[in-house]
Symmetry: D2
């Protein structure tokens, strides 16, 4: 730290290459505009950039991802200390089928795609290309761009005839769109987080989320219920609950939890106290504005003023002066 660079980095890392949904998310990050962006190969690299100080922050997929990496993200956030989420961003997921210029839909025999994307477009593919084969790929964008590549000997780099890719692919590459909007579920959306090492918490906006990761203290019936009651008894809604194996033994899990509200909301702060008492193995990942800007919906029984009144009442009980000694000079 004494050796900090004269000019701290302003770089933002993201899962590349250009054209991924992650890049679309990064385009929504206001403070990243006009700053250097760094495309990396996976979530681990992106977080590594943050941890080592190579980047100021990273955008990573954390829910319902097509680009992959969600489990990896959760595991990384659980095991790499010092990371914080300061914002979330939503990107609608849409897919097009792309091919080398001149390819006709009826000529497509093999479709390259990340398995998750493939599964999401399976219905359309079965109807329109009933005979197709699937060539699994590690990345849709990569699979798509490989369609155009040839090695030094001039051979095609891919045996696929077409690839599933995000619509933005054509902004970067000379691919032809054979079909648009081929995803089976029109509402598909991916949630991204902006992750950095800051410990400053964004100010509450009234429409916030709080993320944490907690391990159960013991693996017995009711232990998870006891954890979740910390929220339900304070009227705190969870917008996400994921379990991830801790990895030391099958059956041991940690829980990734998103709460509706901000750490400065009384009910959230009180719930965090309850969680910490229940299990000190809890990681606070941050409070930050919700991407959808929807104000937290909660019963007024759990409003800030109810907590304040209760504390005032308790303080009043405790502050009574000691009983005057009636025996004095009697």
């Amino acid at each position: 730290m004494s050796d900090a660079p004269a000019t701290p980095t302003e770089t933002y890392s993201y899962l590349g290459p250009a054209g991924t949904f992650t890049e679309l998310a990064l385009k929504q990050v206001e403070e990243a505009q006009g700053k250097p962006w760094r495309a990396v190969n996976n979530v681990g690299e992106a977080l590594d950039d943050v941890v080592t100080g190579r980047s100021k922050a990273a955008v990573i997929a954390i829910e319902n991802s097509i680009d992959g990496g969600v489990s990896a993200t959760q595991d990384a956030l659980a095991t790499i200390p010092g990371l914080r989420i300061t914002g979330e961003y939503l990107v609608p997921v849409g897919f097009v089928l792309v091919a080398r210029p001149g390819t006709r839909l009826q000529d497509v025999k093999t479709v390259a795609a990340h398995p998750v994307a493939y599964a999401q477009c399976r219905g359309w593919l079965d109807r329109n290309l009933p005979e197709h084969a699937h060539l699994p790929a590690g990345s849709n964008v990569q699979a798509a761009t490989q369609l155009l590549e040839r090695d030094e000997a001039g051979n095609k780099a891919s045996v696929a005839d077409a690839a599933i890719a995000p619509p933005t692919i054509v902004d970067h590459h000379a691919l032809e769109v054979l079909a648009e909007n081929i995803i089976d579920n029109d509402n598909a959306v991916t949630r991204f987080a902006l992750v950095s090492r800051t410990t400053a918490i964004p100010a509450p906006t009234g429409a916030d989320k709080t993320s944490l990761i907690a391990e159960l203290p013991a693996d017995q019936p009711g232990s998870l219920v006891e954890l979740l009651e910390q929220f339900s008894t304070r009227g705190v809604n969870m917008s996400l609950l994921e379990s991830r194996p801790i990895g030391d033994a099958l059956g041991r899990h940690r829980f990734i939890i998103d709460l509706e509200g901000h750490i400065t909301d009384e009910r959230i702060a009180d719930a965090l106290l309850g969680v910490y008492r229940f299990t000190p193995r809890v990681i606070f990942l941050g409070s930050y504005p919700r991407a959808d800007r929807q104000p937290a919906d909660f019963d007024q029984r759990y409003a800030d003023e109810v907590f304040v009144e209760a504390r005032d009442w308790l303080r009043g009980l405790l502050s009574a002066e000691p009983e005057p000694d009636d025996d004095t000079d009697s």
Copy 2:
């Protein structure tokens, strides 16, 4: 208050006459020794003395009473504002059968007794006086002393031949004990409270109780469970739970609750906050040393330091300095 008497009262009220179990309890109250005692007819009068300032404090039965008055006590504490319990005292309940001097056991036809005392000695009476009749009385001591009274015309004041009374009766009255230890349950004990208007809370001793009275906010399934979870989720044991009709409509109840612990214990304070948030219709009756001096038994998960550590953790999260502006002079 500006008009307070030059010498505030030092009197202690109790359910008399001399010889009652309540008097035995008062004899245990250290600060009452050597002060004036005032015998009253019922719990209402005793509390009235406290409220009006006629007495400094009153000793009243609050659980498993033979002298009666428990429900009345609970209702009075719930409806008379400003009362506090500052101590509890246990009196083992024992009964003797007394009569006018010269009476033989086999001559006893009618036994005077408060119905509760009568029920507690029923087994012994049925075995030893199978033909007896019961003459219900409002007070055992009163019934016993009436055995000795005659009116101006010289007639016996009571048609009873014997009475059930506490063993101390013979310290005050020229009655003869026909049989000792006639209560069916050897472990019978009555719990008494010292009630005053002080707001000062006795210092914690490590073996304390906290008493409160709470009304449910709504009469629906789970509402009482929600109240009681305020205690169970903080590892707080209840040593008493009584329900009393509120009186405005059948089916509406308030709950009289004794907790193991002191308001200055973190888990108790936190539970009180939870109760107040759940229902502001809660009355704090006091924290005071337990009569049995048994330290509160609770899981170390709910120890004071666990609460302190959780608060420190939360404070640490909240106190992070704002993110330094990396853009400065770059």
Copy 3:
């Protein structure tokens, strides 16, 4: 049974004498009209009549009683095996102040009354007879009738000038009403139960109650919550929850519980199963029509058909034929 008396008893026991609220309750018991009634001195005697077969059934106060006996009732039902409640009856509690003919209100110095009745009329008495003294009595009706009695020497049997009594007292005794409606709370009502040894359960009416008494298996935080969750998780409302000391040690309690619903309602039956599994020390006191005839109010999530559908689903899962052996003659 083979040895049954030629004419089984048809007698109904009740807390007498004539004129008590209990007698008013008995007047509501349809099947008791035209049958012999037997006035007894207390709840223990009434239940004894039932147990010994001296009476067919007894009417006893079980909630908010003026005639006393509620705790005694609950303890008796908990400890005397084989008793069942088959009906409940409500009696509005009203009081009059009565005296010997010719007495004027302003002449009243001493008022005889059961302490509970006295407490309920205290406000009126303090306003109208500020100087009065209270003569505690074991029974209001008895205290009132004593006003008229004289002993063989012609002396008044009571030193009281007036007594608090139910309005019906004047149907039986030549007393004069000095003031009507002197109770402070206009809604006061007492609940009575018809208790017998039958094991037949009255048919469901849609507006029923189920009464039980349960002991907690262990005295630890959350144990009562676990009991009560048997009801809340099935949408079952409690109309009564009382705790009574078991009597073997201070702090050990049993719970008297009234549920809204009938044992033949699926949610009640399922809750009873849950209670029995939680604590086999449970006594079923009966299912019977509610006195107020209000249909049970419960969430349709817990309707009978929901239970039936769930069982059908489970049965379907379990009834699958064993997998045919695909290897047969292949």
Copy 4:
């Protein structure tokens, strides 16, 4: 069904190619030995084989997979009707680093691997090949075999120098192992399920699991707690709880749950009834022997006989004969 093939299929589908961990799992499936196996490209294809009847059953990864497919599996089981799990199998995950014969470890610049496998070997790679680049692959086995492939022009099919692969890879391919046991976590294991369309449930063994998928009826605080209480209140332990987005809207989840016990265990059957009543949107995926053969650990409070006794008690209460009519010929 009337049109069933003369010889029903005996084929087992699995995620190929030969050498995958899924193949290792299939080798554990007793009834599959000696039957035709069919390698497919992803979980969707495997389940499709089962649904269409092309295969009798499929082996698919369902927890902590390296071969990928866990989320896809869960989503498929939730949306494809008629599937059942009849067995589970554990495969320890071990990785070797393989390359074309003659390659030296120090020459490796680029490592091909599925991102999940890559993440699991990252520690070893960073220590031993600090300068390496990662080439993401859709399948480890595929990436490894590509090391040996050349296209028609004789060019290498892969730009990678080495690949991460399961140890069995060398049984099928002429690759050279550069390093063994390169996974960072020695306890890594993947859980596989045998999935078919049978509705017959394997007999209980005393060491069983029950799998189900449930949707919450409403997205509000406490709704998940209410679901999970169906298990905790019956002493049923969960060995797995995963949430998956339902897909119709962000924030709506279904839960994948594994319970310790068999549907014929009373506590499991009762919990299933409770779940179905709470949410009819529940899918029973099967009860089957646990791979680890560990008997279910549960409190004897929830033993079968406790349920049986409770039912006997309730049945006894309900079976009382109607009260004999005492009025007959009196």
